[in-house]
């Protein structure tokens, strides 16, 4: 693959197949079957699918933790089998697996040399990241005392330690409260604005819809759908008209008018906000009232 193409597509998966042999029995389980996937530079890509669909296996192959049975996977044009392919990659595991006896700062200082950072550069980077993820107050606290949201944040900080161009986020808001979830979403969008390529594996479809440019849906190890969110969710041939200052008797008149133009009206109802939006709005109001 040419260098230009490799830079355009940080992730390239071709005909990837991964099977796991069954113990004591002949045969094997197919975790990924004939998967083709390309993630473009600078986009937020959502990897969706129910449990057992092959999302985690795909991520593990990309991280070099599992070897493909056949096919190939490349990061920036380099085979995932090579350690150098991970120099430009940051990974946030689903449940951050860290040494619980280390403090937030010590955790980042431990991972620094593993990413090639040390000395003053590492100290500066640790300060920057603790500020970015909002964990300055937890800097000297052992991770055993961290909440789930704080663990996710320190997990994101370690993933960003060497300022990677590509981020793999596995369920970044699993077990996090809506406020933490919103903060994580904002962080992802901020990172996207900084030019990072992000792959997000998640069950939270709302969140994926809000942050991802493109998605792929996996089911039973196969890709069943891939495309831009806006394209996939747009219902062709239908239009939604939002009218402000709508009067009580209006529905009938609007319906009549539109029908006279030959349109078929399916439904007329007030627009709704999402539960997440309502929750965040009320909590913000309550916080401002209390203060």
């Amino acid at each position: 693959m040419s260098d230009a193409k490799a830079e355009d597509y940080p992730i390239e998966i071709q005909s990837l197949r991964k099977t796991f042999p069954l113990r004591w029995r002949k045969g094997s389980v197919v975790a990924i079957d004939c998967l083709d996937l390309r993630v473009r530079r600078g986009e937020v890509f959502g990897l969706l699918g129910p449990n057992g669909s092959g999302k985690s296996t795909t991520l593990k192959v990309l991280l070099g933790l599992l070897r493909p049975t056949s096919g190939e996977a490349r990061l920036f044009g380099e085979s995932v089998a090579s350690v150098t392919s991970r120099r430009r990659l940051g990974y946030l595991p689903e449940s951050p697996y860290f040494y619980r006896f280390l403090t937030g700062e010590e955790t980042l200082r431990f991972f620094g040399p593993l990413c090639g950072l040390h000395g003053a550069a590492l100290r500066k980077r640790v300060d920057e990241l603790l500020e970015l993820v909002g964990l300055e107050h937890g800097r000297h606290r052992p991770l055993s005392g961290y909440s789930k949201g704080m663990l996710q944040r320190i997990g994101l900080a370690q993933a960003l330690l060497h300022d990677p161009e590509l981020l793999l986020l596995d369920e970044p808001t699993a077990g996090v409260d809506p406020i933490g979830s919103r903060e994580m979403k904002d962080l992802i969008l901020e990172l996207k604005a900084r030019g990072k390529t992000i792959v997000l594996s998640s069950h939270l479809l709302d969140q994926v819809e809000q942050v991802c440019d493109r998605v792929a849906i996996l089911h039973l190890g196969k890709k069943i759908l891939e495309g831009r969110i806006s394209d996939l969710l747009t219902q062709q041939g239908k239009v939604c008209i939002i009218i402000s200052d709508f009067r009580e008797k209006s529905p009938l008149q609007v319906k009549t008018q539109l029908q006279s133009l030959g349109y078929k009206i399916e439904e007329i109802e007030p627009p709704k906000m999402t539960l997440e939006e309502l929750f965040l709005k009320r909590v913000a109001e309550s916080t401002s009232n209390a203060s």
């Binding site: 593990k60 991280l63 070099g64 933790l65 599992l66 070897r67 350690v83 150098t84 991970r86 120099r87 990659l89 990974y91 595991p93 449940s95 951050p96 697996y97 860290f98 040494y99 006896f101 431990f110 991972f111 040399p113 593993l114 990413c115 090639g116 040390h118 370690q158």
Partner: protein, 298 residues
């Protein structure tokens, strides 16, 4: 250079991890106290030479026992715990080679064992120094008493007695003994690491490493049985004995304390020979462990 930094970081963290394990910490503290206790136990003997031999034998015995237990328990927990807590996954998603990870863990344990050996060697030196001072003071006192009673003092005899005590306490052979005891721990840890790369549980690693350790001490007996065809004639026992003789290291040859107890000299060539054997064996075992771990799916 980068690999060295990675290994050093992982080794440093491994030391912290090991020191946080209460069982290991208690074992280390107990070992250090018991090594110091050699002074107390020696009081039950009335022979100066036997006293010193007892102190050395006891302290080296405790050091070896505690060191090997720390090596087995430490190595048995090291990799399985990382796999169970999945911290290994976060580390290996960084640009870290699997062999760097494994060597980092191994050298962390080796560093802890080196500290333990040095601490116990220091305690042994202190015990021997106090024994020497006490015995020399006793001699001086007895000669002073004899002089005060008007007896003629044979200074040559007094000097010979003091030199005899110093020879016992300042025994250079102990350096060889402690060095080989340390390398026996290191080799045991390497064997444990090799097993842990294919094992799934801590218990399996600990039991298998202990069995290999015991077999390593019975190798001389196995060789004897092998040379005597009558003893090893079974179709199963013969190849099994051959396999053990080839695969299992001869850990019995590391026990040089018996030479001190027997009053034999320890030639430098002999120590260096065993040292080379230990380093070569450890390197081969570590290479095998790295190969196995690299091919393991996580």
């Amino acid at each position: 250079m980068r690999s060295l930094m990675v290994i050093r970081t992982l080794a440093g963290n491994t030391v912290l991890e090991l020191l946080r394990q209460k069982a290991l910490l208690i074992l280390i503290i107990l070992g250090i106290i018991m090594a110091g206790g050699a002074n107390f136990f020696s009081q039950f003997s009335f022979d100066t030479e036997q006293d010193f031999k007892f102190i050395k034998d006891f302290a080296v015995g405790i050091l070896t026992l505690v060191g090997v237990l720390v090596a087995i328990i430490g190595v048995a927990q090291m990799l399985p715990a990382e796999l169970e807590s999945r911290t290994v996954l976060t580390i290996l998603t960084k640009p870290v080679q699997r062999w760097e990870f494994l060597l980092g863990k191994f050298f962390g344990l080796c560093f802890l064992l080196a500290c333990l050996t040095l601490a116990m060697a220091l305690i042994l030196s202190v015990v021997l120094y106090f024994q020497e001072s006490a015995r020399v003071a006793e001699i001086n006192k007895s000669y002073e008493a004899a002089a005060s009673q008007g007896h003629e003092i044979n200074l040559e005899e007094k000097k010979a007695a003091i030199d005899g005590i110093r020879k016992q306490s300042r025994d250079a052979r102990l350096i060889s003994v402690l060095l080989l005891a340390y390398f026996k721990m290191v080799l045991t840890a390497a064997l444990g690491l090799l097993i842990s790369t294919i094992a799934t549980s801590m218990m399996f690693t600990a039991i298998m490493t202990s069995l290999i350790y015991i077999s390593g001490h019975l190798l001389a007996t196995a060789r004897e049985a092998w040379s005597n065809n009558e003893a090893v004639h079974s179709w199963l026992l013969k190849p099994l004995t051959a396999l053990i003789m080839v695969v299992v290291p001869d850990l019995g040859s590391f026990n040089l304390i018996d030479e001190i107890v027997a009053g034999n000299p320890i030639p430098l060539e002999h120590t260096l020979g065993i040292l080379n054997y230990a380093i070569f064996y450890t390197a081969v075992v570590l290479m095998a462990a790295c190969l196995l771990f690299s091919s393991r799916e996580l």
